[in-house]
Symmetry: C2
Subunit: 237 residues, 2 copies
């Protein structure tokens, strides 16, 4: 079976209800054959895993799907093996990757998704679909076992990408941070992934969804803007 991913930049656009902008795409992506979804809440820090799972569960219930959290299970490997789809929520990427390694589920999730189980992630959940977490915006609140991630796509994603900066503030812009990344990691693409947009991977095909462009960064190359009509399949090679 072909690999299938729906990656979201963010959970929620400003002023909208939780995950609202992605409702229709999630429904289209999961279709009718999926009923029960495994949820990974490890990016949640300021709410409990139960609270997080409940919050996400409500949205998916309205779309016709049942969510089950991986946490607290006696046999998480069996849960993953049986999962019809896997959803990884956002929050803190360092916390998420630490617990994916610590609970020893990272490889079994990778294998499962590589064999065709649909994967949905937003924000940190999109970041961990990349080779490493090195393009996250999050604070390194925990020193994770490793920066290595699920490696479901061969490029890096910078979620919540924006060209805007905080007014009257001298912190680095997102573009400057990504350029620092490229100096140390010159061989990999970075997708500047704007809020309100999604990436849908179906085997060897990848499409941008949404009204905003994405910006593509590579060391020594000009930054290129792509829109939802662009052929992006080269990113999967």
């Amino acid at each position: 079976m072909k690999k299938r991913l729906l990656l979201l930049s963010n959970s929620t656009n400003l002023g909208e209800s939780y995950l609202f902008y992605a409702h229709q795409e999630i429904k289209k992506f999961l279709g009718e054959s999926v009923q029960k979804i495994l949820f990974i809440p490890f990016a949640g820090v300021t709410l409990t895993y139960d609270e997080y799972t409940e919050r996400v569960g409500k949205v998916f219930k309205n779309l016709g799907y049942k969510i089950e959290g991986i946490h607290g299970s006696e046999n998480d490997h069996e849960l993953i093996a049986k999962a019809e789809a896997i959803v990884v929520g956002g929050g803190n990427t360092f916390h998420l990757i630490h617990w994916l390694h610590k609970s020893r589920v990272i490889e079994i999730i990778r294998e499962k998704v590589n064999h065709g189980t649909p994967y949905i992630g937003w924000s940190a959940g999109s970041n961990v679909a990349c080779p490493t977490i090195k393009t996250t915006n999050d604070m390194p609140i925990i020193d994770p076992i490793s920066f290595s991630a699920l490696n479901l796509v061969p490029f890096q994603i910078n979620p919540h990408y924006t060209d805007a900066v905080i007014p009257n503030h001298n912190g680095e812009s997102r573009e400057k941070r990504i350029k620092e990344f490229l100096v140390v990691n010159p061989d990999i693409y970075v997708v500047g992934f704007k809020e309100g947009t999604m990436l849908n991977i179906e085997g060897t095909s990848i499409k941008l969804i949404g009204n905003q462009t994405m910006r593509l960064f590579k060391f020594g190359e000009p930054i290129v803007e792509y829109d939802s009509n662009s052929n992006l399949d080269f990113l999967l090679k």
Copy 2:
């Protein structure tokens, strides 16, 4: 000899020349007895260590001090041992801490500063004076050997602290990120360290310098604002 540090939130305020807001405080802090300063440029990524050292050297030359970069030295341990003052510049905190560990200078710098050699840092250079780098804003462009830092002060600093957020953007505010840090690290203070402010540590005394307040965060406690008249010595206990 007592421990002496001058920590800056940022190198440069918007619209000012490089390090301008700190010129007089640097001069006051180093005084007349210091002549030659050792500079650590490891946070520099998008400019070479030579370029970075030259840039900083110009500012310090105008203040009456000579800067020498630690990079490229055959005997960096001897350079540190002989240093009259140590200056650690900003840039990328992950890159800085990685190379402090990798070049095996972190412990000898810590010992040297603990025995009274003046230390100046800004941005990433202030961050690495803390127990760990876990409150940096930077992108984790490199997986460092360890998050452990110089531990010259017993609290964490969040440089470039601001309450402002990017307009129409749903990324986490700085306050939210620090609150995530506190959940995982409940026993340590975090200083929200605004641009244009400095902290001067002289033995068991610590003072905020500048017209802006600092915000102090601790798990389960209300956020407190302190100004340059506040007694902050409890932070060093």
